[in-house]
Symmetry: C2
Subunit: 346 residues, 2 copies
Amino acid sequence: MPYVSAPSDISRDHAAKRLAALATPPGALGRLGELSVWVASVQGQVPPHPVDNVRLVIFAGDHGVAAHGVSAFPPAITGAMVRTFLAGKAGVNALARAHGVAVRVLDLGVDEDFHDLDDGIRSALTAHKVRRSSGAIHLEDALTPDETRAALAAGAAVAREEIEAGAQLMISGDMGIGNTTPAAALVAAALGLPAAEVTGRGTGIDDSALTHKIAVIQAALDRTGARTEDPIETLTALGSSDLAASTGYLLAAAQDGVPVLLDGLMSVACALTADRIEPGAAAWFAAGHRSTEPAQSLALAKMGLEPLLDLGLRLGEGSGAVAAVPLIRSAVALLRDVALLDELEA
Amino acid sequence: MPYVSAPSDISRDHAAKRLAALATPPGALGRLGELSVWVASVQGQVPPHPVDNVRLVIFAGDHGVAAHGVSAFPPAITGAMVRTFLAGKAGVNALARAHGVAVRVLDLGVDEDFHDLDDGIRSALTAHKVRRSSGAIHLEDALTPDETRAALAAGAAVAREEIEAGAQLMISGDMGIGNTTPAAALVAAALGLPAAEVTGRGTGIDDSALTHKIAVIQAALDRTGARTEDPIETLTALGSSDLAASTGYLLAAAQDGVPVLLDGLMSVACALTADRIEPGAAAWFAAGHRSTEPAQSLALAKMGLEPLLDLGLRLGEGSGAVAAVPLIRSAVALLRDVALLDELEA
């Protein structure tokens, strides 16, 4: 696999000098000033280009563990929500239309075959499908090693299609009932933490279901043992085809030098896994929204990332990142368009 | 003066029901869900209309107290920044262009006459000018009672011009070296707090200047005494023509039932003053960005408002509110465009 290079130090330094030379009080642009310097460094361009072409890919899949009492919703919702994305009627569709973000949904491992859909729509949706559902991770591996490789490659191929289409900023979204369980397990494995420290309520389970979910994740970690030391083995044991594909997508973005705005737990768990596979990948990532899931904050802290928004969203789908896209555009506009103090004094 | 009516309870209830009926998990839209219900209640419309026409008015003025060591910048910067707004090169101009917000700058009390500007531009800029600068509030009243009345009326007239131009959401911005001193004094007067609890560093004063600024604000409060019990007397004693005009503008928006997105300390101090003049005005206001100035958080808490963003901006100008405008649009898009669960199941 190709290495990940670092964003441009030269552009970062040049952008920081431009930021300091703007006709604004020192530090007055706060996080937007810092963000503008990051955008310049990942673009290798000062001032940064406008970020018009923003592309979200939603990786959908089911999870064997969802049959074991870890979610407030039945697995059939996964396919129903895929149809809602295709109809443009889900939350993330509404946000994406409002902010000019392209949306693509892919079935990597939904536990149905979508035979009711038109052939063209169905074949685009399932073009990268790896399998139906995944193993229940507290009992068995989620994937075979071949499936993990196929999913990582599928995600990378999708990323390159999006980059070919002109992506200036990429987002990975998720859909899959039960997916906070494998995602939290990936974070626990990466950080060497017990299940109790990473487990959250997902879309809204009660106290007794939370206790059960912690036990399921701990059993999955115990079953996997020292294999968690390898990030790709970790995806095989604890992940799923949608999470592995999302990891491959984020890794390919970093390899190709295209910045990513991360969403909630699934997106961030995959980003952390990508950064384990290729250390340095996280330099290409910014964080859109603080999740209520503890694993997301832990993984972001490990990568040195601080979310831009904290609005209590727990919708998934990439929605928190899409809601934060205008802040990237704000940051770019400030570093591009504000007068330099020198110009005013001239 | 006309009374402020309440936003529509019927629309709020109807919007809350629609929010609960969306095909999303309960509460999954977080703050954006709450915000969408507020927009529906202030529009009296469910689902709410798109918020396309957003209008910022920047109220500029100088402050006599700025000659007394309360700011890191010299008063001449006020006029220089007014010219930068007119040239479209300030931070808020960059943000406003990025997010489709109309910007208008008005000189209410800048301590110069702008004779270098073209006649048309100068006459539009100074059409509502009340006076040059204001009294140094620790030594004397900021304004005469007639000047306060004129400034309140000017702000109301400006608001009605913006509403006539189709404003669906209004923002008040500020420019004036030294203006955090009178604004913090207005908040202290409204909340009955000592200067030490409300005073912040503005655009960046050091510890010894902060100690001095606290003493200046406390002297102003002590000088004003029981006159702080009346909000209009408080503007006369502790305000300025730009702050009084901004208060009149926000009050007129509330009277005419047009929602407002508040910015930093100046905008929020004026909002709190408007809510003192006409209790209930605050129901028409939402908060865009958390200021680092303690008086802003205190005033927002008093009005029951929680900011959408906390990005460490301390630029003033209305910039924090303009950066938050896309979140209003996100909220509206969600309540308008997401499928209802009933539709999916049908």
